[in-house]
């Protein structure tokens, strides 16, 4: 007995054809070595960088690279609360991932990874800031990651953004610190990789570099890599940093041009 109230399907059925490539890795780039968003392997993404978005902060900046969105506020220099003997100023960095910023919800309290990333940002920025001119003072940098599109490129963006915010606060620096990242996927270097590419990576390199002084302020590499490939990635990241540097300078000049 057939139930007439139901929608009648065809009498014969055919199994659906599932189109799925055997190796997803090949999908990361096409035959012309263009990546999913049309970039070449060595290209970085366009950057949106703007200063002075947070009214209460002494200096602030906002950066957007693909879906990565990071806001940064700089407060200080102010007097160190618990004074201990030190001829140099203190730099305090707090990175916070918004609970909705990653694929998995992050706990609102500060976790071990955030503490570690904060430490890395401190190490990347300290060489560029004239802390010797600010004894007994503290500079606070608060970084909020609103959206994370790849942890390595996110950290690089956070360093870039924080450096611009410090400059925006009028704190004396030796140079701006642009940072860039690269992923090692199948023996090739993918500059500025996104979240999907990052899941296939066998390693990464994050480099922050002061272009005017030609000094590396921070380097972090993970993965099983040949010396030759590391050297190549190192050169590519240095070039990328120089490109990001011009974006940073423009973002600082723009508000001044506007007032004129």
């Amino acid at each position: 007995m057939v139930d007439r109230r139901r929608i009648q399907g065809p009498e014969v059925s055919v199994a659906p054809i599932i189109i799925k490539s055997a190796d997803k890795r090949t999908c990361l780039k096409d035959e012309h070595s263009r990546r999913r968003d049309g970039r070449n392997l060595e290209d970085i993404c366009p950057i949106f960088l703007k200063t002075g978005l947070i009214s209460q902060a002494n200096g602030s900046a906002f950066i957007e690279i693909r879906r990565t969105k990071i806001a940064c506020g700089v407060y200080g220099p102010r007097q160190t609360k618990i004074p201990s003997f030190s001829g140099k100023g203190n730099l305090n960095v707090e990175i916070k991932f918004a609970p909705f910023s990653c694929q998995k919800r992050r706990q609102p309290y500060r976790d071990a990874q955030e503490k570690d990333l904060s430490q890395l940002v401190i190490e990347a920025l300290v060489p560029s800031i004239r802390l010797d001119l600010l004894p007994k003072s503290t500079i606070d940098i608060y970084i909020t990651v609103l959206e994370n599109d790849g942890t390595a490129s996110c950290l690089a963006a956070a360093i870039t953004c924080a450096s611009v915010a410090v400059a925006d606060a009028g704190i004396e620096m030796l140079d701006l610190v642009p940072a860039s990242s690269a992923s090692y996927i199948g023996g090739e270097i993918y500059m500025d990789s996104d979240l999907a590419e990052e899941q296939h990576e066998t390693g990464y390199l994050i480099l922050s570099y002061m272009p005017s002084l030609k000094e590396v302020t921070h380097i972090l590499q993970s993965g099983d890599v040949d010396l030759a490939l590391t050297t190549q990635a190192f050169e590519q990241c240095t070039d990328a940093c120089s490109k990001i540097y011009s974006v940073m300078i423009n973002s600082l000049l723009l508000p001044i041009r506007d007032t004129q």
């Binding site: 003997f85 899941q199 030609k214 590499q221 993965g223 099983d224």
Partner: protein, 275 residues
């Protein structure tokens, strides 16, 4: 961390000594102190090792393995299927207050966290060496979790290198109980652990676990295996992790200084010479 200070004269003495390739204890720039490595000291642990560097730095590493559930947090299906077949490594580093005054109270929090994250970054992933797939018991359900706990008992500089050496030795020493899998039919699988110690096995791939070489930049030169006074003079450190095939498994800078572009490339090359 409470700052430990160095006088300008002492710093200058160290700097000039390094320029002349002669350090306070008679070593040259690229000379290591004597290493004493012992394994299997702790019976409660599945593997343990202790390393003394010269007359000072002392690190004890205990490895315990435990059964845990498989952690699948990669949302992409392909990544999840790879993860389902793997065990994992959990690291923890603790600098004991007996090692140095600066580790007392909450003073060690920052350095503990930094070292723990550094070790996790190196040991989890393809560069870590361990064959994580061999640590899987039932795919998607149960796996071995390798807990590596490092304890810094005495501090005379160069914790990072000592820590990686000791970890490698402790993993060599680790014996994992054998899991016997019973198929109950209908896809139901259970397992028992073998009581027989003779059947316990080493973790596959321990020989590929990397070690670290730390280069300290002092003035315009760099040295290995710094003493505490030399570390206070150090502007920036570069940790380079290398495995037995000479592949680089990680590079990390620490410290407050910066490194010239050309010097950095040279420093990375130097590690191979040291090994």
């Amino acid at each position: 961390m409470a700052p430990v200070l160095i006088s300008a004269l002492e710093a200058d003495y160290i700097l000039k000594g390094i320029d002349d390739n002669l350090r306070a204890d008679g070593r040259g720039r690229l000379d290591y102190r004597e290493v004493i490595l012992e394994t299997g000291l702790i019976t409660q642990a599945h593997g343990s090792a202790r390393c003394r560097l010269g007359e000072g730095t002392d690190v004890l590493v205990g490895v315990k393995v435990d059964i845990g559930t498989v952690d699948i947090d990669g949302t992409e299906e392909e990544v999840a299927t790879v993860k389902a077949k793997r065990g994992r490594v959990v690291c923890n580093v603790e600098c004991s207050p007996i090692a140095s005054q600066q580790f007392a109270g909450r003073g060690a929090d920052d350095i503990n966290n930094e070292l723990t994250q550094m070790m996790s970054r190196v040991l989890n992933g393809p560069q870590g060496g361990l064959n994580l797939e061999k640590l899987c018991i039932i795919p998607g359900k149960a796996c071995w979790i390798v807990y590596i706990d490092a304890l810094v008992l005495d501090y005379a500089g160069n914790i990072v290198d000592t820590m990686f050496m000791t970890t490698r030795a402790a993993l060599f020493n680790t014996q994992v109980p054998k899991a016997i899998i019973h198929d109950l039919g209908d896809g139901e699988v259970e397992f028992d652990l073998s009581e027989d110690v003779e059947e316990w096995e080493r973790i596959e791939g321990w020989e590929h676990v990397p070690i670290s070489v730390t280069l300290n930049k002092i003035g315009s030169r760099h040295i290995v295996d710094a003493t505490p006074l030399e570390e206070l003079t150090t502007e920036a450190k570069l940790h380079v992790m290398v495995n037995r095939n000479g592949k680089i498994c990680g590079i990390q800078k620490s410290g407050s200084g910066s490194i010239e572009h050309s010097l950095l490339s040279e420093m990375v090359q130097v590690h191979i010479f040291v090994i």
